[in-house]
Symmetry: C2
Subunit: 494 residues, 2 copies
Amino acid sequence: MQQELRFYKEQRKKILAFRYVSFLTEWDSQTDAAAGSIAADSVYNATLSEMSYRLTTDPEFERCVETLYKTRETLDDVLRHEIEVMHKSIADAKKTPMGEYVAFNELTARAYPVYVEAKRTCNFELFRPYLEKIVDYCRKQTVWLATETRKGYDVLLDQYEPHYTQAKYDAFFDVVREKLVPFVKSKTSEPQPVPSWAKQKFDVAKQREFCEYIRDVLCFDKNFGIMKESEHPFTSGMGTDDVRITTHYYENDLVSSIFSVIHETGHATYERQCDPALNDTLCGGGASLGMHESQSRFYENIIGRNRAFWQAHFSKLQKVFAPQLNDVDLDEFVNYVCRVERSFVRTEADELTYPLHIMLRYEIEQKLIDGSLQVKDLPSFWNDKFTEYFGITPPNDSLGVLQDVHWAYGNFGYFPTYALGSAIAAQLFYAMNKQFDVESSLADGTTARVNEWLREHIHKYGASKYPDEILCLATGEDFNPDYYVNYLVEKYSK
Amino acid sequence: MQQELRFYKEQRKKILAFRYVSFLTEWDSQTDAAAGSIAADSVYNATLSEMSYRLTTDPEFERCVETLYKTRETLDDVLRHEIEVMHKSIADAKKTPMGEYVAFNELTARAYPVYVEAKRTCNFELFRPYLEKIVDYCRKQTVWLATETRKGYDVLLDQYEPHYTQAKYDAFFDVVREKLVPFVKSKTSEPQPVPSWAKQKFDVAKQREFCEYIRDVLCFDKNFGIMKESEHPFTSGMGTDDVRITTHYYENDLVSSIFSVIHETGHATYERQCDPALNDTLCGGGASLGMHESQSRFYENIIGRNRAFWQAHFSKLQKVFAPQLNDVDLDEFVNYVCRVERSFVRTEADELTYPLHIMLRYEIEQKLIDGSLQVKDLPSFWNDKFTEYFGITPPNDSLGVLQDVHWAYGNFGYFPTYALGSAIAAQLFYAMNKQFDVESSLADGTTARVNEWLREHIHKYGASKYPDEILCLATGEDFNPDYYVNYLVEKYSK
């Protein structure tokens, strides 16, 4: 077994090196590379992907993982978890017919530009035949990858958030549907207009200055990461010591870039605060999509949309933009960043209405996968459900069923992790508050104490445990959506 | 042989992919990555380097190249050249004792920080023991890699500029020593003071605006490359379609960034204008260091330090900086960018005195390698020779023998390519002028005609021929340093 272990660790070094390459090429293509260069470089990236793919499909590597899997009880906790995950991923890959897999990748590559065109022209029919084939493939996946305990839509959900099943999500969204839908209706019955001071232009250099300040407030160490600009804000990390975020500045929006920075620094702090010993393993970084999103949402909503936080930092914002915000008071500003409204587009939704957007997608995915809903009926089903939950009807499919790119990529099972992240954040907030008064701690000016709690209870584990295990260790109980709904109702009842 | 060809091409794809990785990691570390991240990422880069190294040292690959080499007359021209170069590089690697090679890499890694400290504290003695070992290794290299026709310093020279031997360089520097040294002395006997308008501060945003303009003038297509900032300007390219440059803006220097952009765009245009068919081969990019430098120097000096060029663009410069340069006239500006002076530091030297700095290093390298000069005597030898050529004596070793990093890296044989580049540029200028009046063509506002000539006579070949072959095809004769000396004497006699 020593030999297998040595071989495994050698391969792992290469796998990590290729992850670094992906991290860098992604970063480059989204922040630097010219359009023509991205197209040209795709040749090299294809070769690198192939080399990387061969590392884990190499029969010798498979045999080695099989051997280690059989003797996994003798391995240390981190390596045992890593081998279990690798073993499952190899098994899933082997169950997928290669021809189908290749054809599906070609299909989504062709589908993407058609989706973009369909969205641009509000023409669902253009995209329909592609989406039908995509759904068809995902249904087949649920058969290929089924196990004793994992069937149907659960197979897809598990790819994005291990151990979170329909049973769990159903329980979650039942609470949302029952308690939140009526609450949202009552809170959004009257529109909350944007105050006139927020409709001004805000100098981008000043926005940049304030965002640098905010990053310091959030205790992010500039020696191990940078902040840059890109079309869509994102976080990208490699190990604990190279963690990068981007934001986007809009001259006519004071807070968009600020909340992007807060959100992305939540992701970045998770990456930064993993146990550095995990850097040499495949268990670095976040435990899952949902757990990662819980950190960014914790930052963005629980810290960022919080009066206590702005009590410490609003005067700095006024100072940077002086005299532009001199007549705005703290409460007006907090009301502005916490305002809620009915809206058609998920990515622009506020904290309160957001989970309703996800619930809609979850229900649709369930029905598409179990066959009770056909792709051709999708637009009308979307609009009916949307009207039921929000009380408004999308005027066209671009503001309705065509708004998100995920399905064009074949990512069925992904959406629920977004809402799960917000809900986990609320559960963590309650657990954290048992140990110290979180809002008071923010009055100190930085998030140091919050970060320390998150490091100790969530971050340090990286991906060395399953997300449900980590949540249970951190909060002393399983996932419980009541915290989330209670948090929202309490916060937005004020 | 079909099988060998197929295998070779498969490996070549991987070699190119790893070149892309190097290109990207280098770009990232010099423009984006935080200091702490660079250190952390070195682990992944080490693994990638090792994987890349193994591609060409793989015994199967060696056998394959050997077979193709034996039958090279049946290959097309480009592939034959590529196989010849690869065959030599494999042979050289095999002649180098592995233990010595590894020890040398460790030595230079240790030597670098010591060199930096020695330069900082003007303490040659600190660096001396390292440099002695480095010179010792380079001398051994000349024995290991010697062939019938290549011995001594020629072995080192050939690594940086194939086919350029001591015999050729001696002939070159003899002309420089004989004709240029007295000319430089006469031209620099009286100091040329910096005009007062050039001592102002120049807004960096305006410098950036003008540099963007200049890049358009030089016809660089922004769809296939970007311009960014870094500590030291450089060009980096991967294939013809991803070519990037950097510059550095100094508030107290109007022209530094402009001439960096012109210089780097010379390099970049070379990369851009290779035959795109070479992108899939190892014969893309420039033919050699000297040939590459000839393009950047052509741009920087022959185009950039030229009245005809500024006749077309000085008014734009005035406009961008208005009203700051309103009282400066074209001739004053051109005199400023073409002024010459005795100075200690090569990288800050003007066009006229530059080759003397190189000649000094060339003579020293020759003597260190043939053993007629010892490292311990280097500082005094440097200062004596410097005084002989320039008429001034370095006040300390940081402004003398310690100024360049090249020897700390073990790069003996590299320096001469810098002067060679300038000389080749002059030879090309003469050849080009036979076909059209280069200076008049600049009055059109762009370098389109110059670029077209360079594409057709130099760039398109990439590295698919040796640099001396390309020069001969382009100009109809071998390298001839008289063009260079005549060009300088004529230009600076005005």
